[in-house]
Structures are given as structure tokens and as C-alpha cells.
Symmetry: C2
Subunit: 321 residues, 2 copies
């Protein structure tokens, strides 16, 4: 692949016309997530038929945040669609911390429940750390508890943070082996950056974690065979930061003003300048429709993993890191 | 600093004569560890006087490996020297796994014990993972349990892996703030590389983890403001891989043949070619006398941390990450 003339292209010229060899493959996360859910449904079927186990996922939501409501409904629907039992608990905004912790304790003891997810954020009067610590690590399908975070680092079986697991699956699908690739992760959050680092290291990448204090971020990103952008800043990663032929995973979902669509309109963009990066990268995830759909699918995958481990079975290898 | 003529120097010419501005400062880990133990003794004094707490460290050794015996004796002696209670348990080589786990359970329940360390390796008939899992994370001063490993990643208070903590203390002492420095760790072990990555990230370094599958390791290391070598291969990191002015932490302790000292003689070397690297680096840890002495001192530091947390006190900030 010849080095494209990054950053000097006229912004009015649509990038798709520059040449097919310079246009990245768009990684279809929506389709991959569908396929993954199909595989998960197969594993559910097998657990039912061979072991009499119906995996069950309990989702707890506190209060009435509309975005959280939509997200929890999607989770519940997709859980049922793959043949698992879905249990939804809606608690009022002013529920006491004690009552929430008591519900979690009941779910810990409930043999029909193999995964427990408390939708974050919880209201301010509730300590999220106490909530996380209350969840039995064996049922912690979000991989929030310290014990499960540690297991990922050490390399022991257990649930893996959903979004990084989704990114890893897309990368493996795109590249096959990741061995020896230099992966640069931008962002070091507990939810994405740090668990992503563990998974890429486990897959034999050389891994660099960059963040807000990194000097000359552009030069660091330019080394990457694999870029994982997880900073939450719209289109911060520029096209000419991308090494020709790199694979770019854009975890960011940022809503920005879109006056071109009409007054007051908005649109979703990632952390990467997708159009410019697409001229250089070999493959890139779009926003929306890239990493986003993978997160819930990986939550279901984790529920198969925990249901298997709770019952003394080896978890399916195609659903985890 | 001018770029030295790396790798072309005659091996017969002692590096100290090349020019003072090209000779790295030798980081005196032995002296730093002494100073640290002095501070620890002060904290022990304070815990006794103000809170009636005498921190206690239990060390368990199985079998008669001479190196382990020496190491355990050093730990016990230094524990007593800083004013803590030292409890040493020596079990026969053929002790049953059940009996070892039972001892750990008793130590978990013993209010006089704030740290439990089982000297590794244990004999083959004992599963080290079962041993680690049996230790109450609140007393896990080696930071081996998944829960404590996870806490380091998330940023919660608790014990921190001893050798990486020692490296961090030396780096902070040498550089002050590590913010924005590019740290390259060579080696991704659970004991050193991975926890080191967490600590350097927490101190706002850009962190790269390289390992046996890394392509063009020399080029990766050449970017480093901070090099942490933890691969266990004698003198593998060459002098001309080091960026002028870098700080080099050599975790390796390798015994190699030293025929120049006489037939059958050996000597200890690190993972870095110390002589050549010293011409380029700003500062470097020697082997022996660099990182080595820090490990036991940090074990004692962790015992102060766990003794504080067990008693609901805030651990001293100068003894942890």
C-alpha cells in the first residue's frame, strides 16, 4: 500500500473517490454481533439440552434515566432472544442503599441467576463501589469486581469486560493472530483502556497505553498496527496519525451538533476522524454500528461463561478472551 | 548530552574513564532500602504507641530448598529489625496440601497476623493457585490474590506487588514526577511486568509492554525515558538500545559463568548489559544491589499497609504506590 497524502486532501472531496486501495474496510460490528448472538443461542440450547441449565441474567436499574432505560430494555430483549432467562428489577430513584444491597444478596443466592448487572450510574446517595463489592464475583458479568479484574490480568478463567472483549473479537476476526502487532490504546479507563491492555497483551501484542498526559500522542499513535481509541473526545484522533494499513477500533460514542442536518440536530461520532482515517487504515470500525453492538452481545457471552463455571463446566472458548 | 558512540567502544577500556558526563549514576538500592526500613520502623513505632498495634508478618516455607531458606531467614530477620512480630512456619517437604491450607486458614483468623507470605515455589504435589486463593486478601502482602491484583488496576487501596513497588520508589526518588515519561517494560510476568505497567500508568507514564513476541525490540526500547527490564535473560538489553538520558531499572538477577574469576566460578548479572548501558543512561540500577534489596523492604511496607487497613486506619502514603 502506498503512503497516502494524508492531511493535504481537500475536505470537499469525498474520500471514497480517492481510490479503492486507499479506502479502509468498514468493520461491521452490527453483523458480527448478530452472528455472535447466534453462536450464543447455540450454546444456550446445548446447556439446556445436555445439562438442564437455562442461563439467567438479572439486570437491576435504579431510577428513570431515559438512556439507561433504553439500554436495559435492549439487554433484556436480547437476553430473551438468545433463549436465556431475563430478570429485570426496576427500583425507584430514592431506594435506599441497604435495599439495593439486599436485592443483590438475594440474586447472589438465587440459583436461577448466573449473571448480575447493576446499570450504572446509580443515584448519588448510593456508593457504586459498595454495589460492585456486593456482587458475587462468580456472577459479575460486567467484570467490575476486583477479583475478576485481577483474574483477567493473571490469566484465570472468568468474565471479561464486555467492551474490550468485543473489540478483541473484532480484531481477531479481522487479523487472525494478533501476535507481534504493536497495539496503541488511547485512554486508560477501568472500563475500557486497562482491560483492553490486558487482553491485547494476552494475545501477544506489544501494547502501549497512551492518555491525556502522553507527550506527542500523534507520534505514538503512528507506530500502531492496531489503534484502540477510547477517550470520549469527538474525532480527536486525526487521519494522519494513523499508520498506513493499521486496523482502527473506535470505542468512542460522542454526540455533536450537526447544523448541516437542520437547526438543533445532532449526530454521533467516534473518537477518530473516521473519514480521514479511512484513507489510511486497512480497516476501521464505524460509529455507530462498530464496537457499540458488541458490548451487549459480550454481556450475553459472559453469562454463558459464568453459567458454565458456576456449574463446573468448561466455558466455550469462542465466547471469551 | 551528546550521543555516545555506543557499541563501538573497546571492551578492554573501563567505561568509567570515557567521561564523567557519559557515565550513569548508579542507583543505590541497598541504601534506599535501608532508608525505607528506617521509615517503616518509624511507622511501626507509631502504630504501637498510638493504636496499640504491633504489625505481624507470618512467613510459611515448605521443604528445604537452600535458596528459599536463605530468603525466608532474611525476611524474618528484617521483619524483627523494624520492630514487627515475625512468625515463621517451616513445614516438611511432604506436608499435605490440606494441612498447608489449614495453616493458612488459622493465620487468616489470627488477629496478631497482618501479613501472610507463603514462600514459592511450593512442592509439586501442592497446587500454588489453591494456596494463593486460600490467603485472605486483607493479609496478602505479596499481592498474589486476584482481588488485590484487580485493586491495583482499579486504583483501590491495598498491598502492591513488592518488586514493582520497589522499582517505582526508586524511579520516583530519581526522577520526581514520572508524568509524561515513556516507560518501556520488557517482560510481562504476573510478578513484575504486569503490575509494573499498572503502577507506571497510575503515575501518568505512557507505558509500553514488550516481550518475547515483540518485533524490533531494540527500536521499542530506544524510545524509553524509563526502561524496566524484567525478562530473566542475562545482559539481553544492549547498551545501544538505551536512549541517552534514560533511567534504567534492571530487575533481572541471573547467575552466569565467570571463568575470569577462576574455574567453576560464577557471578550475578542483570537483564541489561550494565557497562554499556551506563555510558548512555542517566541512571541505572546495578545487579546486585539495585532492585533486589527493595523487594523485602516493600514486603515490610505492605505489612504496614495491611495492618493499617485491617484496623480501619489510612495506610501511610510513603509506603505504597
Amino acid at each position: 500500500m502506498s503512503k497516502p497524502n494524508c492531511g493535504k486532501r481537500s475536505r470537499t472531496q469525498p474520500f471514497k473517490q480517492i481510490g479503492a486501495d486507499m479506502t479502509a474496510k468498514i468493520i461491521d460490528g452490527k453483523r458480527f454481533a448478530e452472528e455472535l448472538r447466534g453462536r450464543i443461542a447455540g450454546h444456550v440450547e446445548r446447556l439446556k439440552a445436555e445439562h438442564g441449565i437455562t442461563p439467567g441474567l438479572a439486570v437491576v436499574i435504579v431510577g428513570h434515566d431515559p438512556a439507561s432505560q433504553v439500554y436495559v430494555s435492549s439487554k433484556a430483549r436480547q437476553t430473551a432472544e438468545v433463549g436465556m432467562n431475563s430478570y429485570k428489577y426496576e427500583l425507584p430513584e430514592d431506594v435506599s442503599e441497604l435495599d439495593l444491597l439486599e436485592l443483590i444478596r438475594r440474586l447472589n443466592d438465587d440459583k436461577a441467576v448466573h449473571g448480575i448487572l447493576v446499570q450504572m450510574p446509580v443515584p448519588r446517595h448510593i456508593d457504586p463501589n459498595k454495589v460492585i463489592e456486593a456482587i458475587d464475583p462468580a456472577k459479575d458479568v460486567d467484570c467490575f469486581t476486583p477479583a475478576n479484574v485481577g483474574k483477567v490480568q493473571i490469566g484465570l478463567a472468568g468474565p471479561v469486560s464486555c467492551t474490550p472483549l468485543g473489540c478483541l473479537m473484532l480484531l481477531r476476526d479481522e487479523l487472525g493472530s494478533l501476535e507481534g502487532k504493536h497495539a496503541v490504546i488511547i485512554g486508560r479507563s477501568n472500563l475500557v483502556g486497562k482491560p483492553m491492555m490486558q487482553l491485547l497483551l494476552r494475545d501477544n501484542c506489544t501494547v502501549t497505553v497512551a492518555h491525556s498526559r502522553t507527550r506527542d500522542l500523534a507520534a505514538v499513535v503512528r507506530q500502531a498496527d492496531i489503534v484502540v481509541a477510547a477517550v470520549g473526545r469527538p474525532q480527536m484522533i486525526k487521519g494522519d496519525w494513523i499508520k498506513p494499513g493499521a486496523v482502527v477500533i473506535d470505542v468512542g460514542i460522542n454526540r455533536i451538533d450537526a447544523p448541516e442536518r437542520g437547526e438543533g440536530k445532532t449526530r454521533l461520532v467516534g473518537d477518530v476522524d473516521t473519514a480521514a482515517a479511512s484513507e489510511v487504515a486497512a480497516a476501521i470500525t464505524p460509529v455507530p454500528g462498530g464496537v457499540g453492538p458488541m458490548t451487549i452481545a459480550c454481556l450475553l457471552a459472559n453469562t454463558i461463561t459464568t453459567a458454565s463455571l458456576i456449574n463446573g463446566l468448561t466455558p466455550p472458548s469462542d465466547l471469551t478472551a
